[in-house]
Amino acid sequence: MRVLAPLVLLIIPSLCLAQPQISFNGGLASFKMSDMKNHQAELKIQFPVDAKVITSFPVFWSYDFAITTDVSRWLRIGGVVGFTSTGGRMSYRDFSGAIESNQTVTSWSTAIQTAVLLNLNENLPFFFVCKTGVTSGRYDLDIMVELNGSKDSDNTAFRSVNLFLEPGIMVSKRFAQRLSANLTAGYNVNVDKGKQRLVSNSDLYLLDNSGEAVTLDWSGFRISFGVSIELN
């Protein structure tokens, strides 16, 4: 809710102004996650057996929900709430037992979205879109050891906050009177990456073997497809 609060503060005034739109977009996101990949490698070395890295922070689905309004013929502004996630997994199993590590990272982001119309073609308008906001990340590390029929698991969770910019291009196609289809492509840049603080004790944060803070870096390409509805 703390993430949604700023968005509400932006959206309500825009609804009062003129021709508001809501839109939902879903698509694929890639993630840099360089610290986390190193972190995964360090975890792997500590395993007593040679576990296999199954995944290492791959491209995954991302979604966002936006409310915007036209400020002028050329400019549209609004708020966006987005969600995405990715993760890493290492696994080992033999006749005697198993050991696995699941690293799940999720991101809730809140941003101000600005869209600038680049052409006057009403059938197929192009927009330069830029989102500016914060993302709240969570990292869940789940390690499970199964030996001689008994299981033992452990969960450790961290939270962090990043600031990001996401410039991009959006093309829109109206296919009904109030409905439009949107195709958006952009690149998310995390301009400030916060420390991952332990959920159970925020005084502690995650470090790598060299003593550097391990951060979540959500930077990466974004491509999404969505639908917009004009409310008025």
């Binding site: 809501i22 839109s23 939902f24 879903g26 007593p48 057996v49 576990a51 296999k52 199954i54 995944t55 995954f60 689905w61 979604y63 929900f65 969600f83 996630s85 990715t86 993760g87 997994r89 696994s91 080992y92 199993r93 033999d94 006749f95 005697s96 037992g97 198993a98 050991i99 696995e100 699941n102 799940t104 990272v105 999720t106 030996l147 001689n148 009177q177 109030r178 409905l179 639908v227 509805i229 004009e230 409310l231």
Partner: protein, 623 residues
């Protein structure tokens, strides 16, 4: 409618958003590693004492002393977690003798006795399967392996040793000690002088040892023994004696100074380096390298007349380690005197032959070969004089024990005895003359009981008549005089010279010249001899005029009184002989003749007589 439709769409979008927002990343793919399940029965170990071949479980391991063991793990296994070694000793209990996490352990011989005992090795191993459980140390095997330990700590038995000559070497052979607790063999060689040499052989198979030094030639036995030294003790064979005395014969021919050695060749040609023959000075005469040589003759040019010389014979080994003895043989140059001579041989002018006294006090007449011709008389003692020209022979009993001087007249064989105990005084010195006179010095101490002062007398007289031809006495001054050999002159204290004329004597004068009086010339008493340094000055006895000087033939040579009246030669030597010769010097011409003599000789045992040089009981002809 639109609105309604819009509301429916919004609702629909919101629903889809909520549903999709729940779709966080999730992965459940799994990696399975196919591994072979380990079988504890397939793990084992092989134990072996270090340096020995492998033993399989169940084998018997021979134990002969402190031994380090090593076991190697076989079959499928991981690392060794722990190892515990037990020995079931005589009391039928399993005793821990070693534990740890290494593949080595040691068993000490202490507290063990001979016998066969089970040896158990309990091992804890990881499976080594590579599984997760193995990696976490949760997959282990416990295996137990058993051997038998046969303990034999009995000491070695004394070896039987054979001593033979093999390939020219004295060789010892014995049977090998076969137990692995062998440490070394020890060869002991005890020499006749008590010194024992020890040789250590570290190879078990080295059961032959040859003496690289022994070449024989000892007159006393050398003892050999072999010791076997093992970890459990030492055993020594009974000593075996070996004696190879040198069968050596020596001969010397004084005619040509040739010596000959004959010997039995040594059978020890292996270590043999040579037969060495050395002169007494250490100078090598010859070295004969052929072991089969059995005789050698050589002319001994380096020997000199005088004291005995010797040549040594020596068997020498290449190693020179045994200090083989030298066998010395003595000989003497010159012709040996065939009778037992006492004192010196003298030429008697009256008899015109050599005379000498033997050890039986027989006065012998000798021929020119120093062989006795006749016994002239039996003298009363070995102290005898035959002054020039030799009409009389004087003798005293040994040590003057009966205070008599005996005078034997050779022409008549008549003997006069003179008791020289006179006025309570005793004889101090005396001299005799060839005309029968005796010159005596008496020293009588004071007689306190009768308050009689001391009495000193010197006189010359004929013992047959006791008539003095010269006499002096004093109660205060000790007196001394001597008579010339021909009885013509007396020399008294204060360098006074008296000339005897008939039954009396008259003072010639006091000689004031330099030097120490040596005496009147034996065969010409008109000449007096004085030592002036090393030279001798001759003065006329009647006038004290200087006649001539004899210089020593070489510096530091002196005349010690030996004079041959027949050849008129004086013998000049050094007081300590060296490698320099001695000289016969003509008393009138000074012509010298050198003779090389042994440096080991005593100079005062050389004398000249009748043209011969005599040293003790050997003589050589000089003229």
């Amino acid at each position: 409618m639109i609105f309604c439709h819009s509301n429916t769409s919004v609702f629909f979008l919101a629903l889809v958003s909520i549903l999709l927002f729940r779709c966080a990343f999730e992965s459940d793919e799994e990696y399975f590693r196919e591994l072979k399940i380990p079988d504890p029965k397939r793990a084992s170990a092989i134990i072996r004492p270090i340096d020995l071949s492998s033993y399989n479980p169940g084998d018997t391991i021979d134990f002969f002393g402190n031994t380090s063991f090593f076991f190697s793990l076989t079959g499928e296994h991981g690392r060794l977690e722990s190892a515990t070694v037990y020995l079931n000793t005589a009391d039928n209990t399993w005793n821990v003798i070693a534990s740890g996490s290494t593949t080595q352990f040691a068993i000490s011989k202490h507290n063990l006795i001979d016998g066969i005992f089970p040896l158990r090795l309990d091992l804890t191993l990881t499976s080594g399967s590579g599984s997760l459980a193995d990696a976490l140390g949760e997959e282990k095997f416990d295996i137990s392996l058993t051997w038998f330990l046969r303990v034999d700590l009995s000491p070695p038995l004394p070896p039987t040793v054979n001593l033979e000559i093999v390939d020219g070497f004295l060789t010892l052979e014995w049977s090998a000690y076969k137990k692995p607790n062998f440490e070394f063999y020890e060869v002991n060689r005890k020499l006749p002088n008590g010194v024992t040499n020890t040789f250590q052989l570290n190879e078990r198979q080295a059961t032959v040892w040859r003496d690289e030094s022994y070449v024989g030639g000892y007159n006393f036995p050398i003892e050999y023994s072999i010791s076997i030294v093992s970890e459990t003790g030492r055993a020594t064979s009974p000593p075996i004696s070996r004696i190879d005395p040198l069968d050596l014969r020596f001969s010397f021919d004084p005619k040509d100074s040739t010596f000959t050695f004959d010997w039995e060749p040594t059978p020890f040609y292996g270590p043999f380096e040579g037969y060495k023959i050395n002169f007494e000075t250490g100078k090598e005469i010859i070295s004969l390298p052929n072991a089969s040589t059995s005789t050698h003759s050589d002319k001994l040019s380096m020997a000199a007349f005088g004291a005995e010389s010797s040549v040594g014979f020596h068997l020498q080994s290449k190693l020179k380690a045994l200090n083989e003895p030298w066998h010395w043989h003595s000989f003497q140059l010159g012709t040996p005197i065939t009778f037992s001579l006492a004192g010196k041989i003298t030429f008697n002018s009256y008899l015109n032959s050599l005379i000498a006294l033997d050890t039986e006090n027989s006065l012998l007449q000798l021929n020119d070969k120093f062989e006795p011709l006749a016994t002239l008389a039996i003298l009363k003692g070995s102290n005898w004089l035959s002054p020039f020209p030799g009409n009389y022979v004087f003798s005293t009993s040994n040590n003057y024990s009966d205070d008599n001087i005996y005078r034997l007249q050779l022409a008549t064989n008549a003997e006069v005895t003179y008791d020289y105990f006179y006025l309570g005084s005793s004889i101090s010195t005396y001299s005799v003359a060839g005309n029968g006179l005796i010159c005596l010095d008496y020293d009588r101490p004071p007689l306190p009981s009768a308050n009689i002062p001391p009495l000193y007398v010197t006189r010359a007289f004929d013992p047959a008549t006791n008539i003095n031809v010269y006499t002096e006495s004093s109660n205060t001054v000790k007196l001394s005089a001597s008579i010339s050999e021909d009885g013509k002159y007396i020399r008294a204290d204060n360098d006074r010279v008296f000339k005897i004329n008939g039954g009396s004597s008259e003072l010639v004068g006091s000689f004031a010249g330099p030097g120490a009086f040596l005496g009147f010339r034996q065969d010409n008493s008109s000449e007096m001899m004085f030592a002036d340094g090393d030279r001798i000055n001759f003065y006329a006895s009647d006038t004290f005029e200087f006649i001539r000087t004899l210089e020593p033939p070489k510096p530091f040579y002196r005349w010690f009184g030996s004079y041959d009246s027949q050849t008129k030669n004086m013998l000049w030597t050094r007081s300590v002989l060296s490698t320099d010769p001695i000289y016969a010097v003509h008393i009138e011409t000074g012509k010298a003749k050198s003779v090389q003599v042994s440096a080991r000789s005593a100079h005062n045992k050389f004398y000249l007589v009748n043209g011969f040089l005599v040293y003790e009981d050997h003589f050589i002809k000089l003229y």
